[in-house]
């Protein structure tokens, strides 16, 4: 019971934070709900993978980034908006702000061993997200290959 309550809370909070980042970036108001669901859902899946099931840091970030890219492309086609409107706000919970802060903090204190540890984590997360977006793009092209060919031919 406690587990499901925590899960719902995580979804709710990341939904809110995604919508708020959308407001900061001025995304159109009819995209708020979809972007929030994409952000919240992918964060919940990441949370279950990383914190509960113990899948590694890199792989859970990679999976979440692929999920965001696929869902954003789908939402972009349905709502007739650029995919970036959903991708950037949904990515906010995954930005390694905490690790980057701890790196800077230990740097200020002079604890250089921990600086390298957190730097490694930041690099792994950013690399996994970049690779995940690339793989998501690749999957999108595989799914929409036939449509792409028609668009190219008509041009």
């Amino acid at each position: 019971m406690h587990y499901w309550l925590n899960l719902a809370l995580q979804f709710f909070l990341s939904y809110i934070s995604t919508v708020c980042f959308g407001i900061l970036l001025h995304i159109p108001s009819r995209a708020y709900n979809v972007a929030g669901v994409i952000g919240g859902g992918s964060w919940v899946i990441y949370w279950v993978m990383y914190y509960q099931d113990g899948v590694g840091l890199a792989f859970s970030n990679l999976f979440a980034a692929i999920l965001i890219a696929l869902c954003s492309r789908w939402a972009a086609q349905h709502k007739k908006m650029p995919a970036i409107v959903f991708e950037v706000p949904a990515l906010v919970p995954f930005v390694p702000g905490g690790q980057a802060y701890k790196m800077v903090r230990n740097f200020a204190i002079g604890n250089y061993y921990l600086v390298t540890v957190y730097f490694y984590q930041v690099v792994v997360i950013v690399g996994a997200i970049t690779l995940g977006f690339g793989l998501g793009e690749l999957l999108n092209r595989i799914i929409h290959y036939r449509r792409w060919k028609i668009v190219k031919k008509n041009r």
Binding site: S17, I23, L24, L25, K80, G97, G98, A108, T130, F133
Partner: protein
């Protein structure tokens, strides 16, 4: 056959659309795609576009001179990207003509801030800081401090950006404010953990658009824009981090 005047208008429309898209944080593949689609609809043949983060060069056949558009600032306003996307789609479906598209693009470009924009943004940043602080650290007791810190620092950020128009200085100043307020609250005994509050309050300032665009541009093989956006993201992160280091030195 197009008249010379109409061809010039078509190129001008394309360059305006490209400038709006790049200024407001679109990825380069979408910019190129939109420009080619618009030029094709307008009837330009053999259209060439060279787009970078700081400028566009456009040309078509039978035109002796290329058109250059300089891009000075970047604002990250995704509503304009969506509006240009809409105009381009309507134009390629034949719903609006070229002069109408140009007028609409000019209107989109002139759009200023809406009413109470700063207040709404500060509130959104405050809620964002509080929510992400709880998500990342599980710390409920200090969430009110994250709320206040995030709101005030974002208000400072938008004020500095609007007044002085220097990139990276806004992030630096607002991070200084975050650090100062947090240390003050903890020293006064109102809040408990400096780390948790700063982690939450810094989140509205993270370079989300440059990071995403760097990834997508690199993946699509754009070797000029991808690394440039990456450098933009790194510089923003460094300016936040250096301000935090300065404050923590005195904490």
């Amino acid at each position: 056959m197009l008249t010379k005047k109409r061809r010039r208008l078509a190129l001008r429309t394309c360059s305006l659309a490209g400038r709006i898209l790049i200024e407001n944080g679109s990825n380069m593949e979408r910019v190129n795609d939109t420009l080619h689609r618009m030029a094709h609809t307008a009837g330009l043949q053999d259209f060439q576009a060279f787009t970078t983060v700081t400028g566009i060069v456009l040309g078509a056949n039978n035109m002796p001179n290329a058109m250059v558009m300089n891009i000075r600032r970047r604002k990250n306003d995704l509503s304009k990207v969506t509006a240009v996307n809409e105009i381009s789609r309507e134009m390629s479906q034949g719903l609006i003509t070229l002069p109408e598209a140009y007028a609409q693009l000019k209107w989109v470009d002139r759009q200023g801030p809406y009413k109470y924009q700063n207040l709404v943004e500060a509130l959104a940043a405050a809620v964002l800081s509080m929510a992400l602080m709880i998500v990342f650290t599980g710390d409920y007791r200090d969430s009110w401090a994250g709320f206040i810190d995030g709101g005030i620092s974002y208000a400072v950020f938008s004020y500095v950006i609007r007044k002085f128009k220097i990139q990276y200085l806004g992030e630096f100043c607002s991070s200084l404010v975050i650090g100062f307020l947090t240390v003050l609250m903890v020293k006064l005994g109102w809040a408990h953990s400096i780390n948790d509050i700063i982690i939450g309050a810094v989140m509205p300032l993270v370079p989300g658009i440059p990071l995403t665009n760097a990834a997508r541009d690199l993946v699509s093989g754009n070797l000029i824009s991808g690394p440039t956006r990456g450098i933009e993201a790194i510089l923003t992160a460094v300016s936040i981090g250096s301000a935090i280091v300065i404050v923590l030195h005195f904490a």
